[in-house]
């Protein structure tokens, strides 16, 4: 039996409310995070990623009180991110109910921090999110602080650093595809997945079931994450939280009738 990929909603928190971003810029308010986690719980989501998107810019960590409220609610694994910069803060969030902590792109600049956090909580409890943009004729560029600062390290090198310093998972987030619902970035995700021995999660651009299925067939990825796909419905993008049953996806390899996008 082959492992099945995790399908993961990503929730963004800003000042205690839930928001959805578009290209990391425009944000719209979509509701209450605790309520959203409760719904994903009932719908039996594989896991939820919750990130405080202002924490890092404001030099603070995500509020442990909020994490504890959500942690008590979640009967599923919860990955928590936002301004986590040392082992003590990672451990505190895990004790509040996080299954895993999510470090931001900026952690690549101080890999020793990744090592310290991984030593404290174990590598299977540490994910790192690498936010990138594709610049023409060049390697994908990394951006930290919600896409504000460009780093000098290229994405390929960053993925290797993350693995070497003890991260247990890499989340690859395409900034350009954020909120676009136009499909995942197959090429970059596939390449990184083949480069590292730790699990890789693709994020950015999912809009349809087919986006997930095609990405999986193409990469056999450990997990696929999305924001808009789980919170918007219909062509007018009305806010309605949903999570499809695992059976709705067809991840089998022999579904040859499905088209695989050309790279």
């Amino acid at each position: 039996m082959t492992p099945r990929p995790r399908i993961i909603p990503v929730l963004l928190v800003r000042r205690g409310g839930l928001v959805k971003s578009f290209g990391f810029k425009k944000h719209i308010y979509i509701g209450d995070p605790i309520n959203a986690v409760r719904i994903f719980n009932e719908l039996q989501a594989d896991e939820v990623i919750l990130i405080d998107i202002d924490a890092s810019k404001e030099s603070r960590s995500i509020d442990p009180v909020l994490v504890k409220e959500i942690g008590e609610e979640a009967m599923m694994p919860l990955t928590i991110g936002g301004g986590i910069r040392n082992a003590a803060s990672a451990l505190q969030l895990i004790r509040c109910g996080a299954e895993r902590v999510l470090l931001g792109t900026n952690a690549i600049r101080s890999p020793e921090t990744i090592r310290q956090i991984s030593d404290a909580v174990g590598s299977s409890s540490v994910s790192i999110c690498l936010d990138y943009k594709i610049s023409k004729f060049r390697s994908p560029s990394l951006y930290s602080h919600s896409g504000l600062h460009k780093l000098n390290t290229d994405l390929w090198h960053a993925a290797k650093i993350a693995e070497e310093y003890g991260a247990g998972e890499i989340i690859l987030q395409s900034i350009e595809r954020d909120g676009s619902m136009q499909g995942f970035d197959f090429e970059t995700i596939s390449r990184i997945n083949a480069m590292v021995t730790i699990p890789v999660i693709g994020l950015g651009g999912a809009g349809t079931f087919d986006d997930f299925e095609s990405l999986y067939r193409h990469t056999q990825l450990s997990g696929m994450a999305a924001g808009s796909f789980f919170v918007f419905q219909g062509k007018h993008k009305g806010v309605l939280i949903s999570y499809p049953s695992v059976k709705s996806f067809n991840f089998s390899e022999d579904a040859s009738s499905r088209k695989i996008p050309n790279l």
């Binding site: 492992p3 895990i94 299954e99 404290a120 174990g122 590598s123 590292v196 699990p199």
Partner: protein, 214 residues
């Protein structure tokens, strides 16, 4: 009044809290099942407990050192081996019940023969380490933790190490991650699960309930 007190004591469950573990979701389950969780790293609380849950994440070495610093090793040995208190080890908590780990200089409790080793996988991209995600388990019939019909249910795993060289009679469930992985062990009052029952939806709750109602 006295009988109330007694039942209160009977329903007390010590969740051993030695720093590196997620105690919130475990104790929430324990409360939900009608028991009183005592989240503690004090030897006195372990001595009083009618049931013990030993969670754990991170490194084998660090966990054993944390337990030693809190003088919990001998109290746990006494509770488990001499008084026969039912104990459930979760994830690393289960691995600590064996003789030791490949990654560690520290010995384990040695309640069950065997040891923890890094999971071996080929270079097939479907199998990455850590093994993180939902995997179906196969359960043996004679297990106290799993009701019949648990086989094929998915449980949540997150680990890089797995236990090996366990006597087959003590293995009650396994999963497959390219090769077989031991998912649960039990012998007498000693129970261990590699997956996270507290994060495994309803089926995980049933495993915890079965342990607590022993």
């Amino acid at each position: 009044m006295l009988s109330d007190l007694r039942s209160d004591v009977d329903r007390s469950v010590c969740v051993v809290d030695y720093a590196s573990c997620n105690v919130v979701s475990i104790s929430r389950h324990v409360v939900g099942l009608g028991y009183n969780p005592v989240i503690s790293d004090r030897a006195a609380d372990v001595k009083k407990a009618r049931k013990i849950i030993m969670p754990g994440i991170g490194h084998f070495d660090v966990a054993m050192k944390q337990l030693r610093q809190r003088d919990l090793i001998s109290v746990l040995n006494e509770a488990v081996l001499e008084r026969g208190v039912p104990i459930l080890g979760i994830c690393l908590g289960m691995q600590l019940m064996t003789n030791g780990s490949e990654e560690s200089c520290e010995s384990g409790f040695g309640w069950i023969n065997g040891s923890a080793h890094r999971i071996k996988v080929s270079d097939d991209v479907r199998y990455k380490i850590p093994h993180i995600g939902w995997s179906q388990i196969e359960v043996k019939d004679n297990s106290k933790l799993f009701p019949s019909g648990t086989s094929s249910k998915e449980f949540y795993f997150a680990h890089s190490y797995a236990i090996r060289d366990i006597e087959p009679i003590h293995i009650t469930a396994q999963t497959t991650y390219e090769t077989p992985i031991i998912a649960a062990i039990e012998t007498q009052n000693i129970f261990g699960v590699q997956f996270h029952p507290e994060k495994s939806r309803e089926q995980g709750g049933i495993v915890l309930r079965n342990f607590l109602s022993l």
